[in-house]
Amino acid sequence: MFKKFSTATDISGHTPVKSSVQRQLRAALLSQWRIEPETLESIWPKKEGLVHVKCREHISIYTVNGKPIFFQHFDGPLVPTLRLLHQYPYILPMVKIDRGAIRFMLAGANMMCPGLTSAGGWLPPAEEGLPAGTLVAVHAEGKEHAAGIGLCKLSTEDMKKINKNVGVETLAYLGDDLWSQKSL
């Protein structure tokens, strides 16, 4: 999503967010991510205002003190920035891609099922299967930190069964233009 993004051309406005909307966002974050209220408080204190940065193609980035915390496309799920995910790796469920797929991930491609189902990849077992449309942290074989964040196009069980085409759509990856923007 942030393959080509430059502050000069792609940002249309910075607006502070109303506190009623802030409360709604806070509640949404607590329900969508696996995060404790206290930890969310340390990332985004109640006293701090949230700034809504509007970008092209209906993408909104929300920042605290200039630092981007999460973003959203249309009214879709709230996606944490990759930097935030590195600091708190447990807030999203994990899937792993094998080594050969890493370079494609780092170029922004979507992850195909075979990369997740092969020997180096890892998907959660059937009891913890994730439905389609879940936000996941995409980890890489042999690496400690997430390489990117994606949205499951198929449920993890379907990925194992069908094993063809796109499994996870890449929303953010290491080194994309959002990564390079440390503050907005």
């Binding site: 590195h86 708190y88 790796p89 092969s118 020997a119 400690e144 930190h145």
Partner: protein, 219 residues
């Protein structure tokens, strides 16, 4: 009376601390989970383990060795490399290495070309006549040195107590120009040379003053 008091005081004191404990026990303070500390490479700004996929791998390794020797050992020592071959076959691994080496060379060449362009680009200061006795100073080329134009314009405006604005030459790209009202070209030159505020990092020889006056005359 003394005995009674003493008799009463200890039993009163005993339930006191007990009550205090039971009231604080069910409300423990929940500490937020601290963030994980991540070491980002000084060269490519990725987590250190991903440097091998970037285009500046050799520089990254040198940086890591200098800054964080323990991590260097962890990732690049002999046994670590052997363990990392993982699930790809040997040919695939060597192909991957060749690809990254090629990418690295390309990226280096590109970075060099960019640097050269940067060195040769200049900041041009022009003085243009507006009406008979009035001039404007046009400063172009600051963009290439990574100067934030709006902030620079504001700085000029406050320093010279006149108006300053940013104008785009071509629509779309900011082909920058800062227009300052008044004849301030020499002062601007001084400001740039001193590197005041946002005007950092501009070597003095890259700045040029071009006279764009129609009339010749002493000033």
């Amino acid at each position: 009376m003394g005995k009674k008091q003493r008799g009463q005081a200890p039993p009163a004191a005993a339930p006191g601390p007990e009550e205090a404990e039971s009231s604080t026990a069910p409300a423990p303070v929940v500490e937020p989970t601290p963030p994980k500390e991540v070491v980002y490479c000084g060269v490519c700004d990725w987590p250190v383990e991903y440097c091998e996929f970037g285009s500046t791998f050799t520089k990254c390794k040198e940086w890591l060795k200098a800054e964080h020797p323990e991590l260097w050992d962890k990732y690049y020592s002999e046994d670590a490399l052997a363990a990392r071959l993982g699930t790809i076959s040997l040919e695939a691994q060597s192909k991957l290495e060749k690809d990254t080496a090629k990418k690295e060379a390309k990226a280096e060449a590109k970075a060099e070309a960019d640097m050269k362009k940067k060195m040769s680009s200049q900041v041009i200061i022009k003085r243009i006549e507006r009406t008979k006795r009035k001039h404007v100073t046009v400063i172009s080329g600051l963009d290439k040195f990574g100067v934030d134009l709006k902030k620079a314009a504001k700085q000029f405006a406050s320093k010279f107590a006149t108006g300053a604005s940013v104008s785009k030459v071509t629509a779309g790209a900011t082909d920058d120009e800062i227009v300052v009202q008044g004849d301030v070209c020499y002062e601007v030159l001084e400001m740039i040379e001193d590197g005041v505020g946002v005007l950092k990092g501009i070597p003095a020889d890259n700045v040029e003053i071009v006279e764009d006056k129609k009339k010749k005359g002493g000033d």
